[in-house]
Symmetry: C2
Subunit: 408 residues, 2 copies
């Protein structure tokens, strides 16, 4: 089927080269696609790596191996296969990943554990080893490509190509972070979402890179949801080549560490929002801001209960300020809440305060807000200082059409 480009799409940004990173793409022909489907990134010796992986128990071999590889803290290459997730394929799936790792390690003269592999696409079909081998051979001899080419090649049902850039100054040196990501469906919280890759020329110790990435995850990838379904393959990796020549960041005591952590958080937030903007069938980007909860974690769970509610998401699709459904979602979240202290608003206008509809509620400005592309939902629980922001998209006929007809 032909899936229309998301009306929430954003243009691919101008991303400069990152010293120590070389990108290449090739056609492994995992599916009958007239496009490249294998992405290869070569990384300078000594590149630090950090990662986030799906919590789905039925995860792919790529995820299992990636988690083990993380212990070494160093990476020399990344391979991303699109069109086949290689998940739920038993020992044959694992053999395919180990074959890719060995082939690249042999070429680079590095340890296999320094070669990271991700795959995305249909579940349950072992990745064909012959196609992978030929694809990698082709990539290794191809001309380097742009960020946009690489970002496009890792996509599957994505309707637009997603990238982001951020910078930070560390000890007088400007370091750059480049990120690419793919994802549109099977997007749910409480994990590292979909396939996302961040590359920086900063010099960062692996443990601190992981700390920055994990902290950013809490407020970015873990705060988005498209359909509450957690993928078997979700992976976000960050690579720091060190080519910028700054004194390596080892902890928050290092000079420039705060600025770098802020830049990581910035690029993660950009990438996470791009995924929501390409949520399957999305017509509106929804920001749910929860305040007054007993803790930040509680606020996030309430926010996700709202963002995952099909009744809330269809109401917004219908441009209906149906705050009763928001009440329902707050109440089912399983978190502390008091119906008689609850306030709900849309687009900066309260519709209900402290457990009752506003006596002088004027629906006109709220109705106007709901006709837009970006919808703001505010919930104040009136209990404490906990707060969170969660992002999702509306639930439309497009989601049904994409998922009832397409074998992902």
């Amino acid at each position: 089927m032909d899936i229309a480009r998301s009306p929430l799409a954003q243009p691919f940004p101008a991303i400069p080269p990152i010293a120590g990173v070389t990108l290449r793409i090739a056609r492994a022909r995992y599916k009958d696609w007239d496009r490249a489907d294998l992405t290869y990134a070569e990384l300078a010796p000594g590149t630090a790596v950090a990662g986030l992986f799906t919590k789905n128990i039925c995860c792919s071999s790529e995820v299992e191996l990636g988690r083990e590889q993380m212990k070494g803290g160093r990476a020399r290459a990344l391979v991303v296969n699109a069109g086949n997730s290689n998940a739920f394929t038993g020992y044959r799936g694992r053999e395919a990943v180990e074959g890719i790792m060995a082939q690249v390690a042999d070429h680079l003269g590095c340890a296999a554990a320094e070669v990271f592999v991700s795959s995305t696409g249909v579940i349950g079909v072992p990745l064909p080893q012959d196609k992978a081998r030929a694809g990698i051979a082709a990539a290794l001899t191809s001309e380097p490509c742009s960020w946009e080419d690489a970002a496009e090649t890792i996509g599957t049902t994505d309707t637009f190509t997603k990238g982001a850039v951020a910078q930070a100054v560390i000890g007088g040196r400007t370091v750059t972070l480049a990120g690419i990501i793919k994802g549109s469906g099977m997007i749910a919280p409480d994990m590292a979402t979909m396939l996302g890759y961040i590359f920086t020329d900063a010099a960062v110790e692996p443990a601190f890179l992981q700390a920055c990435l994990s902290a950013a995850n809490e407020r970015t990838f873990s705060c988005i949801t498209v359909d509450s379904d957690t993928s078997t393959s979700d992976t976000v990796l960050a690579f720091a080549t060190g080519a910028a020549g700054n004194a390596p960041l080892a902890s928050f005591d290092s000079e420039g560490a705060d600025a770098f952590a802020a830049a990581i958080a910035d690029i993660c937030r950009q990438l996470a929002l791009l995924v929501v903007r390409d949520g399957e069938g999305a017509q509106k980007l929804i920001e749910v801001r929860v305040s007054g909860a007993v803790s930040d974690a509680s606020a996030r769970r309430v926010g996700l209960a709202i963002a995952n509610s099909p009744l809330v998401k269809t109401a917004i699709a219908g441009e209906d300020a149906n705050w009763g459904r928001v009440v329902m979602a707050v109440g089912k979240a399983g978190e502390p809440a008091d119906r008689d202290r609850l306030s709900i608003g849309f687009g900066g206008h309260w519709t209900a305060r402290e457990g009752q509809p506003l006596a002088n509620y004027d629906e006109a400005p709220v109705a106007e807000h709901l006709t837009g592309r970006e919808i703001a939902v505010a919930v104040d629980l009136g209990l404490g200082d906990g707060q969170a922001v969660v992002w999702t998209c509306d639930l439309t006929h497009g989601y049904i059409a994409i998922n009832a007809d397409y074998r992902s």
Copy 2:
């Protein structure tokens, strides 16, 4: 909008009168509907009552009061308002319910706590007290009506009228159970689902009636889901008038207690399945059978993760045997599972065994099964003896159309 009758609808059964129960309906005109919207059931003095209520924290005053009233164990009347749920309406909502209780108690000469009230419909609009008062006055002076009339009157977005009947023999006497239920959207597990009422002429002590109802709930109402959204008003009440004259059932040691408990479970299962058959937009009834879990509770949670997955539900809507999405849902359930022991099947045919697609998998019989109205999904976790059956419906364009356009 005009919502088509569910293709999974079942005809209303022949339900005999239950001695000690008199049904009446009237028009309170809560909404602009050309039909009765207020149901009144008068119950013989001494009628035992048991109940199940939503766990949604933002529940209605009807639910709060009903939970308190349960302590008395006796009921003389039930009033059900359709078109307005009276939820999230603060003290005005509570006053409206207390007004109805007082009016009926005054008429019957009973305690107000013996009058049970439920309301269903839009959230956030206080139930108009004048309309309720006039509606009840009209009901009290109207002719008794049929089970089908009463079942039709409690409905809102329901596309067909739902009733069930069961019988049991207690000490040589046949007792009858009659049930009516409404519900179509905002249906989720872990609670007593929607508005359901069971009436029996059996003599049963309230505590044992509650024990039977709670036990039945675990395998019926708590095992269905339409859209994962838990309503603010869900209520199931069981009334036992005692008119059959059997020796009152007080525990499982009483003669006929097992048969009665089985009949309660039977009627609860019938009623729960009728709600799924009228799930918003439903085109297929889906039974998810989970075995091999570490416990029954774990099996149920895995079953609900599958039944609530929008990707599984849209795949079945599209008649696609996409078992990879079932793997994903098992893995995200947060329950013990081992990818390499997992087996998945449809309609009695395994598609994957022990973590891998079947080598000789023949898709034809599975594809044929998926074209039907009733779909069976089987999951064997291969870990233990825990099992559960969960029911849901597919997710279709109809759900989007109903919920993006209708203010519930």
